[in-house]
């Protein structure tokens, strides 16, 4: 048993361990998984002096309430998250993108994400969890990853194998830009849809449905008419693919998606916008804007440079 651990007073709605995900397993039917919002993952780890690819606690909407036992340790939270830190009898409101040091008996209470979906809690040290295919990422559908592939729950602990020696307090000024316009590259079945349907797809607003999770984001709004065939022979998918089933409402594949699918693909979200896409909360508006491959590649490079630049400021 570990001497340093967090007791879970409240697990939160969808709290899992995640990291960069696992690759080269699609052919077995195993998706990538991994953190939904990669930039916020990297920033959180950097703020507590972890390796950038260290396992992290990911939560959605309501986060966990944790009580710490052990020697002093750093933590940082990224995203747009409301949380408090309780020391003895005082409770202070915490700020994202800033590391804090806590000691034995302190509590972290992650109340909710603010008009966004995912937040990240990095603990300054090494989590005592198992890897599967070289990744801790929990996939609750196939019960793969650490914690037996299940969400974190009441009456369990987050154990630390090691605590970082360097506990310098770090911060960065960063605001998550919220976007409504998501850039999309035309899909391989774009011509399955009527002229009117294509126009609707790129011009009208859709609303993110409550039936969205780590597997996919469902959209509500105007229907997109298919004039060729509402089914195709099942074929591979990647994250960001936008499928339109027979009911005309698009579904966007996210990190835990099924590896093959049989609905026509109207488009694919450009990689540059994926981190921001996953943060759009149910009930919010979303609009698609067409982009070509070469612009998408350039914009992703710029986005990555920006991420590296942010990391170097920490």
């Amino acid at each position: 048993m570990s001497d340093n651990y967090f007791e879970i007073i409240r697990p939160g709605i969808n709290t899992t361990f995640q990291d960069k995900g696992r690759d080269n397993l699609y052919h077995f039917g195993i998706p990538f998984s991994g953190v939904m919002d990669n930039r916020n993952y990297l920033l959180a780890n950097k703020l507590v002096n972890n390796n950038l690819d260290s396992p992290i606690v990911e939560f959605a909407y309501q986060g966990p309430h944790l009580k710490y036992t052990g020697g002093k340790i750093n933590f940082a939270i990224t995203g747009d998250v409301i949380f408090t830190i309780k020391k003895d009898d005082t409770e202070i409101e915490g700020k994202c993108y800033e590391s804090y040091q806590i000691v034995n008996g302190d509590e972290i209470n992650i109340i909710s994400t603010n008009k966004s979906v995912y937040g990240y809690l990095a603990l300054g040290g090494e989590l005592d969890i198992k890897l599967q295919w070289n990744s801790c990422s929990i996939n609750t559908k196939a019960n793969i990853g650490s914690n037996n592939g299940k969400k974190l729950d009441f009456s369990q602990k987050i154990n630390l194998r090691k605590i970082n020696i360097n506990q310098d307090i770090k911060k960065i000024n960063y605001i998550n830009t919220k976007i409504e316009n998501i850039r999309v590259i035309k899909g391989t079945n774009f011509d399955y849809f009527s002229e009117e349907g294509k126009k609707i797809f790129f011009e009208k607003e859709f609303i993110v449905s409550k039936l969205s999770d780590r597997m996919g984001m469902r959209l509500e709004g105007p229907k997109i008419e298919n004039i060729v065939n509402t089914n195709i022979k099942s074929e591979g998918l990647i994250k960001g693919v936008i499928q339109v089933p027979a009911d005309g409402s698009p579904i966007i594949m996210l990190s835990d998606h099924g590896t093959v699918g049989g609905y026509p693909k109207i488009g694919v979200v450009a990689s540059v916008d994926y981190n921001r896409l996953v943060q759009i909360s149910p009930g919010s508006k979303i609009k698609f804007k067409e982009i070509n491959l070469s612009d998408a590649e350039t914009l992703f490079k710029l986005y990555e440079m920006e991420t590296q630049n942010l990391l170097s400021q920490i």
Binding site: Y26, G29, K233, S234, G236, I238, G240
Partner: protein, 224 residues
């Protein structure tokens, strides 16, 4: 051979081998899949073979569409490539507690349940692909008189181990999952095992599968 290569978004190649679903096209897909996988090309992070398509995903930080496309176009595939395909026998119990859709199938196919079962068991199936949910094999082809559409309203939960039919295909639900296939029976065999990291799937593309009927008693006492 690949008929057309296009981009699926900005980080995947969409290799199209045609529209028909048959063994010879699928074997082409599998050969490409195995060859590329062996080469371990920098930046390629996933390969998804299916009936007649191969999706090659790559890390946009390390490579790009033009580079991967050029590589695939110049790739030589050995026609004599060995697939190391296996023959696998899957025990299946068709007790009424498992054969959830046999009555529906009797009506659609206009066959008795005995005949449906007989047709199903007396056939060798080819695994075209594995996926959707972890380890789920897509097996074909069912004979013409055994083909039914999927349920109009999919089940919210199909039990783990269920053996289902849709159109010319059979499959096995490796996890409890939502789904619309016509369920004929259930297998006690672990078709997917995540604790065996190098070989988590029992049935892989190119393998041949037969089903063998077992009784409820044999099912309950099944030991792998």
């Amino acid at each position: 051979m690949i008929k057309n290569i296009s981009n699926l978004g900005d980080s995947a190649l969409y290799c199209d081998f045609g529209n028909e679903v048959n063994k010879s096209i699928n074997l082409q897909v599998i050969k490409y899949f195995k060859t590329i996988k062996e080469k371990k090309l920098k930046g390629i992070n996933n390969l998804t073979p299916s009936y007649n398509k191969l999706i090659i995903s790559y890390d946009l930080r390390k490579t790009n569409y033009d580079e991967v496309k050029k590589y695939i176009e110049n790739l030589e595939i050995e026609s004599s490539l060995k697939l190391n395909a296996k023959k696998i026998e899957i025990p299946v119990c068709c007790h009424e507690s498992f054969s959830l859709d046999v009555i529906r199938l009797e009506k659609i196919l206009n066959l008795s349940s005995e005949k449906i079962l007989e047709n199903f068991l007396n056939k060798e199936y080819f695994c075209y692909m594995t996926g959707f949910i972890a380890g789920m094999p897509f097996l074909g082809d069912l004979s013409e008189n055994m083909r039914a559409q999927r349920l109009e309203t999919p089940r919210v939960k199909v039990p783990k181990g269920s053996v289902g039919l849709t159109e010319q295909f059979a499959n096995i639900y490796t996890f409890e999952s939502p789904g619309g296939w016509n369920i004929l029976g259930n297998t006690p065999v672990k078709v997917f095992d995540s604790s065996v990291e190098d070989k988590p799937t029992l049935i892989n593309p190119g393998d041949t599968v037969t089903f063998k009927e077992i009784t409820l008693d044999q099912y309950n006492n099944y030991n792998e």
